[in-house]
């Protein structure tokens, strides 16, 4: 039982990390209908910028400069990619973001290098054992995962406040509901795009910090974007809480499956299991966890 809880817990914490990446997808999809495949590349680019800048300047300044870089990135994407492609079909925009992700992969490695960089922000690493009195051997949790969960929690809260309470947040929600209506009441669509892409860039930076501290900053962290996809179908492309809850379910589901069912199949099932889980869920509830308006169903 203790082990089960441990796996469940580990799964939740892995899920938090998936949710962080999924969040970036959701923000952009919600506001501009773009399925932003470059999110993974943005995570890598942001983390690389931060870790290399830290060699030159103190951490807080490096963080600020990295945020600045992500905002500049958003401006450039809006000007060079989104604006010329306005009103195109979703799949064309999706393809364009793939082009962007190629570019960012190459660009990031050109200016920042392609080695492995250790990102040490002083996050704790040592494992702790809790509930030793309840279960034999106790339950092992990693302080680092807990910190990551806290960071994710703070980020989500900040985003929620930003969306609900600020003027820009209201404008964002208006755009998400109806582009044309929003435009006709005087909300500048282009500024909104820059803002969501910047926000999503900052979310990428946070995800990059968390993943980078865990794995070291290097090319592979751009591949974690794939882990966020089942979260998206489970939670819905447009739902922020969906991304969080979906992340937790996928994280826990795949770890439990791998540990308890995997060995009888030779292991390595977690990759497809996450998708199967999301798929089964969709067959029952096609709009995803929190999807309100269901249009994309037959």
């Amino acid at each position: 039982m203790g082990f089960f809880i441990e796996v469940l817990f580990g799964g939740f914490l892995a899920g938090v990390l998936y949710a962080l990446v999924a969040l970036g997808f959701v923000l952009i999809f919600k506001a501009s209908g773009v399925f932003n495949f470059a999110q993974g590349a943005m995570v890598l680019f942001a983390a690389l910028s931060l870790v290399r800048l830290m060699e030159w300047m103190p951490i807080p300044i490096a963080l600020l400069v990295s945020v600045g870089i992500m905002i500049v990135f958003a401006l450039v994407v809006e000007r060079l990619v989104l604006r010329p492609l306005v009103n195109q079909e979703g799949i064309i925009l999706f393809m364009a973001t793939i082009g962007v992700s190629y570019f960012v992969d190459g660009f990031g490695q050109t200016i920042w290098g392609s080695e492995i960089y250790t990102l040490d922000l002083g996050l704790p690493k040592e494992p702790v054992i809790i509930l030793e009195s309840v279960f034999e051997g106790g339950v092992l949790v990693n302080k680092f995962d807990l910190v990551a969960a806290v960071i994710a929690g703070i980020l989500v809260t900040v985003l929620a406040v930003f969306f609900q309470k600020t003027r820009i947040g209201r404008a964002l929600r208006a755009v998400a509901d109806d582009h044309q209506a929003a435009q006709s009441v005087g909300i500048p669509l282009r500024d909104i795009w820059v803002i969501v892409w910047s926000t999503s860039g900052i979310v990428a930076l946070v995800a990059g910090i968390v993943w980078g501290s865990a794995l070291g900053v290097q090319f592979s962290i751009s591949l974690v974007a794939l882990k966020a996809l089942p979260v998206l179908i489970l939670g819905g492309f447009t739902s922020v809480p969906g991304a969080i809850i979906g992340g937790l379910i996928i994280g826990a589901g795949e770890k439990l499956a791998e540990v308890f069912i995997g060995p009888s199949f030779g292991g390595g099932i977690e990759n497809w299991f996450a998708y199967m889980l999301a798929l089964l869920f969709l067959l029952v509830r096609p709009q995803g966890l929190f999807g309100e308006r269901i249009i994309e169903r037959v």
């Binding site: 580990g10 040592e126 494992p127 680092f144 592979s220």
Partner: protein, 444 residues
Amino acid sequence: MRTKLLRAAALGAIGAAAMLAAGAGEALAQNEQFLPRLVYRTGPYAPNGVPFANGYADYLNMLNERDGGINGVRLVQEECETGYATDRGVECYDRLKGKGPTGAGVVDPLSTGITFALTEKAPGDKIPLITMGYGRSESQDGSVFGWNFPLLGTYWAAADIIMNYVAQKEGGYGKLKGKKVSLVYHDSPYGKEPIPLLEELAKRHGFAFSALPVTHPGVEQKATWLQIRQNRPDYVLLWGWGVMNSTAIKEAAAVNYPRNKMIGVWWSGAEPDVTPGGDGSKGYMAAALHAIGDQFGVHRDIYKLVYDKNRGAGKREEVGQVLYNRGLVNGFLASEAIRKAQSRFGNKPMTGEQVRWGLENLDITAARIKESGFEGLVYPLKISCQDHMGSARARIQQWDGSKWSFVSDWIEADRKLIDPMVVAAAKKYAEEKKITPRDCSKES
């Protein structure tokens, strides 16, 4: 707007085509040995691919500077980026195999997947493949795999050496009975290679063996290590590459699995594997094909002739790292094979077929190693028509938080165990491919 863009695109395309056409005309001078270099300096495995490529390049450049190449034949190398992807690797091979006056002398695929693909092509092109410490284990059998040279060791040898060390630590093979050994492996042919041998050993010595796959690129290992925490194996063998290694060590630290019970293969024992883990990597062990450090004769020459002239392929402070030295050794063996071939065919650029003769008759003695500045770095080896591996020895090294140090002497793999398995696997391959094995007793 649109027509302007279109015109620009058309101009660009014409320009690119013209450039390609112009470039195709160049030819290499006649007294040059061409060596294609399949490398990966980008992508998920770049942190490991870069030092290897640098070591190899520096060694060949040093030979050119010091001796004017090999017996007056300059070595010309051209790198081609594979990104560790099999299809790009095959494309690189096809692109470079015909270059130079004699074509590619020898190819290092530098990836197990590419090795498998090139194994099908090399016999047709008559180009030998050096797969030092990797590749397919049964290719040790030269009578079937005439063009593969897994010099210094295969994965079966590595698995046997590591288990031999484990047995030593436990006080003999007899003590392994009832122990639990887990293999955490990269879910690709590379990672699967050692499994048959480990299963065989488990059967013989009565230890429980389990294999836990990790999917490419290996950043998701939580479930794997939770299982290890649950089963508490006595030893964990690590068969990873790239980010998978450092992640495995970090996850081991996260579940409190003792690092000094973890032993990696020689591809899981370099600096990029342990440094990200910080103090958590202390005590981790790995097999080592060769020594580490820049204190050897060959490094002095490289510093003097390559880095002092600012022509190094990498950073000066990275000379002597594990994978850098592996590149050096690889370059050394390739150049020795060419040298050997020249001793028979004359001091001119060698064809792939001639280099293969050089490889099959390669005999790198201790004296030759000393002369070349590799003393203490590698173990002598002797290749024959039947045995394409030569020597199968490694030491075990341990990370103390800042450097690797050896904790064992050279351990030799048990050829009596491996060779029959090699012959059986090679025979199966020959049947599938309808190859008639060569009769090595008839070749001199």
